[in-house]
């Protein structure tokens, strides 16, 4: 049988590597956790965003709050659940809006249409890119990529009417027969 062990020793000798004994088997930090730890320590949330970790020991699951300070959604407080699978960063984080809101790119179940959360995700992107993308959705809702078709039509055809609808929906009102959650901060 092949002796990998002796090959390894030779390789280490060649590389002059540190081959200190490793001792008993201990749990190793997984690749996904390592990457999330790195992403979190580089996160720049600014004054409009904050995070909440229901279990600080589980950094793969948390809530992001966004309070836009400009644009049509100013004054609202929106929250998103982030669930990161062990395949991160090869798979994008799973992000969902917790409130029922009136937004062309977010459907009534909270699904988000953001290119980097799906087709344009790349492992080089990080959590910062995702939260910046989410923040951008509130500054510049996009009518050409609709998940909520009615909201997209309103935005396209009647921007002022759309703005009014946004205010109404954020206050917990009804738009086109759909009642939305009050999200005013």
């Amino acid at each position: 049988m092949l002796k990998i062990w002796s090959m390894k020793k030779e390789q280490q000798k060649a590389e002059n590597a540190d081959s200190a004994a490793t001792g008993g088997k201990k749990k190793k930090v997984t690749a996904a956790q390592l990457r999330v730890q790195k992403d979190l320590s580089e996160l720049s949330l600014g004054s409009t965003m904050s995070t909440e970790f229901p279990d600080p020991d589980n950094i793969l699951s948390f809530i992001l709050y966004i309070e836009p300070d400009e644009g049509m959604y100013k004054g609202g407080r929106f929250s998103f659940t982030f669930n990161i699978t062990p395949s991160f960063p090869h798979e994008p984080p799973k992000v969902q809006c917790r409130e029922k809101i009136y937004h062309p790119n977010i459907d009534l179940e909270g699904k988000v249409c953001l290119n980097i959360l799906r087709e344009d995700w790349k492992p080089v992107l990080n959590l910062n890119a995702v939260i910046v993308g989410l923040q951008f959705l509130f500054l510049e809702p996009n009518a050409s990529d609709p998940l909520n078709k009615e909201a997209a039509e309103d935005l396209r055809n009647n921007r002022e009417g759309f703005k009014r609808n946004v205010r109404q929906a954020m206050a917990g009102g009804t738009v086109r027969g759909e009642t939305y959650e009050r999200v005013l901060a």
Binding site: M1, L2, K3, I4, W5, M7, K8, Q11, D18, S19, A20, A21, T22, G23, G24, K25, K26, K27, K28, V29, T30, A31, Q33, L34, R35, Q37, K38, L40, S41, E42, L43, L45, S50, T51, E52, F53, P56, D57, N58, I59, S87, H90, N105, D107, E109, K111, V112, C113, N115, R118, E119, W121, D145, P146, L147, K149
Partner: protein
């Protein structure tokens, strides 16, 4: 050359040529490691694990049994589907619905005298390191990248530099239509599956908005049923992609949507294909790749000839798409591989009575670390994070706890990140005084 007992069709005749390879050195045999008198015996006591009993798995089991391995285990969670029968030749129509591992094991045991094959009808994730430790060699014939990454990470994590038997060579075969690959991984010595992840082209995803608003292809309608309609209506608690009732539900939803948008081409089998991400399998490609894998297994086990994997080439690609092309090369290890790179460095002279703050201060001073704003975690335990602010506040009380109070033990691995060194993650193994 033939003795009295050896005649065509007799059991000994089956092994004559194999034994010639196993007992006599060839022109490329390394005389330092080859011992022809011991190989056959050694192979009899060797335990080999085969993962997957599908298209590649059937070939691999047959090849290993006929290569002189006597103690083989096979894991597969799947049951036999009628569509498998064209290439998974260990199965018959009467076997449809039975477990692949079980039927394959029984078939090969019956046809090759003296081989013992132990089936496990379950997921690889159901077993722990103790189970995998009993094997000397692992051969994979899988169709999922996820399962490959799992077994790869498990085998790399099992490596204990002090224990010779903790190094398990992993031979991985894979096919997709006319293309395939065979590779050998020597955990922590050569590039691992995680290092080679970019060799797999990811499946192209369709924008969610296309699915939701303007589907153009039958696949879009099926993905819509799969991603959006299922979640909305939840006809069953969880989607079982192998349950015909679930697939039928998706098929009907997709069909209705396709009618609405005038899109032809949604069928039950296309639905199954899209949802399960099925790629057409070609029996002969499986044979080519399984043969390459099993020859490497024989060479690794017997040292009868140089094998794929070390020190140079470790990856054989095969493409039959455009005539035939095959190329064998060395895929280099990645130093920053999250699985096999970054072996934790020892951090000696740590006092378990230190507070976490004292440990972090010592990281700032140590010449090998010199960190300014370290964030620290252990597996399943967030010790201290400098950012984001909420998490910092939640973990701040830990700073004044001692390492013992935090449950850290001698030999524990900790991961340290610092935004000042954005490209590196430090892994340390605590060594108590």
């Amino acid at each position: 050359m033939t003795s009295d007992e050896v005649y065509p069709g007799s059991e000994p005749a089956r092994w004559v040529y194999l034994d010639r390879i196993r007992t006599r050195p060839g022109p490329f045999t390394n005389p330092d490691v080859f011992d022809g008198s011991a190989v056959a015996k050694a192979m009899e006591s060797m335990k080999v694990l085969v993962i997957g009993a599908g298209g590649l798995g059937c070939e691999i089991l047959k090849n290993l049994a006929l290569s002189g391995f006597k103690d083989i285990h096979v894991i597969d969670m799947d049951t036999i589907d009628i569509s498998n029968l064209n290439r998974q030749f260990l199965f018959r129509q009467a076997d449809v619905g039975k477990f692949k591992a079980e039927v394959a094991a029984a078939f090969v045991e019956k046809r090759v005298k003296g081989v013992k094959i132990t089936p496990h009808n379950c997921k690889i994730q159901n077993f722990d390191e103790d189970f995998y430790m009993q094997f000397q060699l692992v051969v994979c014939g899988l169709d999922s990248i996820e399962a490959r990454r799992w077994i790869n990470a498990t085998l790399v994590n099992m490596v204990d530099e002090d224990v010779e038997d903790s190094y398990k060579p992993l031979i991985d075969g894979g096919t997709e239509g006319f293309k395939g690959q065979a590779r050998v991984i020597l955990p922590t010595v050569t590039s691992c599956i995680e290092c080679q992840l970019d060799m797999h082209a990811p499946r192209a995803a369709v924008p969610l908005c296309t699915l939701a608003s303007i589907p153009r292809q039958p696949e879009h309608c099926i993905e819509w049923a799969h991603v959006i309609a299922w979640d909305k209506e939840k006809p069953f608690p969880t989607l079982d992609k192998d349950d015909p009732e679930h697939i039928t539900w998706l098929y009907q939803k997709a069909l209705a949507r396709a009618r609405e948008f005038n899109i032809p081409g949604v069928t039950y089998s296309l639905t199954q294909g899209v949802v399960k991400n099925i790629i057409p399998a070609i029996a002969a490609t499986n044979s080519v790749i399984a043969a390459a894998c099993c020859n490497e297994a024989l060479k690794i086990a017997s040292n009868c000839a140089p094998f794929l994997g070390f020190p140079d080439d470790n990856y054989m690609m095969y493409s039959g798409n455009d005539s035939i092309y095959t190329y064998t090369f060395k895929h280099e290890r990645k130093d920053d591989c999250p699985v096999c790179g970054q072996q934790a460095r020892p951090l000696p002279n740590v006092d378990p009575a230190w507070t976490l703050r004292e440990l972090l201060d010592s990281l700032a001073e140590r010449p090998e670390a010199q960190l300014k704003k370290p964030s620290v975690r252990a597996e399943g335990k967030t010790l201290y994070m400098q950012s984001p602010p909420g998490l910092e506040a939640q973990t701040r009380p830990n700073l004044d706890k001692t390492l013992t109070e935090l449950g850290l033990v001698d030999g524990q691995e900790i991961a340290v990140t610092d935004p000042a060194f954005a490209t590196v993650t430090f892994k340390f193994r605590l060594r108590f005084k």
